[in-house]
């Protein structure tokens, strides 16, 4: 009976794996490495790669810069309505990106809530790279916030309290104790959010449109090329798989790397204080 169960599990697992991997493999079976490489010389593909990386990196700076303190606060303070706030933060995780796109239009579009105000100070967001950055921010930041809140919550409160009683200020405690201890989780969340941002499509096409060299990101280019030149679409798809795989591998390795550095940091701290 036990053997039967194990065999069954293995079968189901194999089926699931085949289903997930086969379509991705199919892309690489249809695109030769030569074709993939030649796409690096395709002007539109290079433009899309540059737009994608630029907007993702800018958005990611905001995600880390604003998300880390926000997550620290949400993880360490208990206040009325905290559960509501955390749920709101996670809401974009389950929302279709098309909803994010229409919400961004309703808020920042020319006819949107803030459209008149922005227009008055000479700012127009739709169809610009800023619009792409906003779209990426909305869909990607919850991935980081969620992981960061969990990572900060996992930090032993006693260590934070010890740091405070030993005379470190709250900022120093955050920087030298909480941040290194949570680094593994933060790194994993950060890479996931970056990968999700890189793949953003629905909100971008609605809010930022699609123009080569300005707002056309890699996923938008795949969609545009689908009907023009299927081979180009395949090659760009393959390129995006490789980039995403690299990001994911980084996510797998960063936790072990950061836990190593945080041990190292605390050791060097100890040797300094002794």
């Amino acid at each position: 009976m036990r053997r039967l169960f194990d065999t069954g599990l293995a079968l189901v697992c194999g089926l699931a794996l085949a289903f997930l991997v086969f379509p991705l493999l199919a892309i690489f079976l249809r695109v030769t490495p030569v074709e993939l490489f030649s796409q690096l010389g395709n002007e539109a593909a290079v433009d899309a790669l540059v737009v994608s990386l630029k907007t993702s990196l800018i958005a990611h700076a905001f995600v880390l810069g604003l998300g880390t303190p926000a997550a620290y606060l949400l993880a360490n303070r208990r206040f009325r309505g905290r559960a509501v706030v955390v749920t709101l933060v996670e809401l974009p995780l389950v929302l279709p990106p098309a909803v994010a796109g229409i919400a961004l239009l309703a808020a920042f579009g020319r006819q949107g809530l803030l459209g008149g105000t922005l227009d008055a100070i000479g700012i127009s967001i739709p169809f610009t790279q800023a619009a792409v950055v906003l779209a990426v921010l909305v869909v990607a930041s919850p991935f980081y916030l969620r992981a960061a809140i969990a990572a900060f919550e996992a930090v032993d409160r006693n260590l934070l309290d010890a740091s405070r009683t030993l005379g470190a200020g709250p900022f120093r405690t955050f920087l030298r104790v909480a941040l290194p201890l949570a680094a593994g989780g933060l790194g994993a969340g950060s890479t996931l959010a970056f990968a999700r941002g890189l793949g953003e499509f629905g909100a971008t096409i609605m809010f930022a449109g699609s123009l080569q060299g300005r707002t056309q990101t890699l996923p938008l280019m795949i969609y545009a090329q689908l009907d023009q030149d299927f081979d180009v679409a395949l090659a760009v798809g393959a390129l995006l798989i490789l980039v995403s795989l690299a990001v994911l591998l980084a996510a797998k390795f960063i936790p072990s790397w950061t836990s190593f550095t945080s041990i190292w940091l605390s050791r060097s701290e100890r040797s300094i204080s002794s």
Partner: protein
């Protein structure tokens, strides 16, 4: 016993494939240009419709999507598919006109095509290869107004993307078909193109080869070409061949 389980799994997978793959049993599937989204269901509400850019639909038919009828906003893709042996002889069933639309209120003060070259005007057109986009480029070339293309802020993948961005007031102007302008008449103003810039726009319809519902597909085509189809098309602002 293990074998039974394996069989069961295979049966499950096959059932899932069969349940999802047969695209709704006996229902006719019509792939049609986005600009036909209002009129075709009036001609015949029964079939399952998929509306998208004619070029996108052509790609899907090439990749084996289970369409029975293909109705395109340009002769190019039906001709290509016919040459590849994927559809039967395409027939012209309607014509259309390209127009310029601006949001009601006309924030950029566009009165004619040359105004589109003004500083800061946000123009949205179809991407190259999308019929509405190719026709727009043709019209601009005929007017010697290629400079206008510098003000393009987005190249959309089908005509609905253009209509919605102008109707929402996010873009200042867009080139669409007169029939699309009619569907959002309250939200946009229409600017006619000079006759010399008007491209010849023909809609073609064809039965997809190897359709499992061939008789129904042919009947649908006849219906579109017949008096019922013609009066619905005319009512929605299409021209007749």
């Amino acid at each position: 016993m293990t074998r039974a389980l394996a069989l069961l799994l295979c049966a499950l997978a096959a059932a899932a494939a069969a349940g999802c793959g047969s695209s709704g049993g006996d229902r006719l599937t019509v792939f049609a240009a986005a600009s036909l989204a209002d009129v075709l269901p009036q001609v015949d509400p029964a079939p399952g419709y998929e509306f998208a850019g004619s070029d996108q639909l052509a790609t899907q038919i090439r990749e084996g999507a289970g369409a029975d009828v293909y109705a395109a906003a340009s002769p190019r893709y039906p001709a290509e598919l016919f040459a590849e042996g994927l559809v039967e002889q395409p027939r012209v069933f309607a014509t259309n006109r390209l127009v310029l639309i601006v949001p009601s209120g006309n924030p950029a003060g566009v009165r004619s095509v040359p105004d589109l070259a003004g500083p800061g005007v946000k123009l949205v057109i179809g991407a190259e290869g999308v019929p509405a986009g190719d026709y727009a480029r043709e019209a601009l070339a005929a007017l010697g107004a290629d400079a206008v293309l510098a003000n393009v802020v987005s190249e959309e993948d089908d005509v609905r993307g253009i209509v919605s961005k102008v109707a929402l007031g996010e873009a200042d102007a867009g080139f669409v078909y007169t029939t699309d302008a009619k569907s959002v008449a309250g939200e946009v103003q229409v600017i006619e193109l000079p006759p010399e810039a008007q491209p010849q726009i023909e809609y073609l319809i064809a039965v997809v080869k190897g359709s499992a519902r061939h008789a129904a597909a042919e009947a649908f085509v006849q219906r579109v070409l017949g008096p019922g189809g013609r009066s619905a098309l005319e009512r929605d602002g299409f021209g007749l061949p």
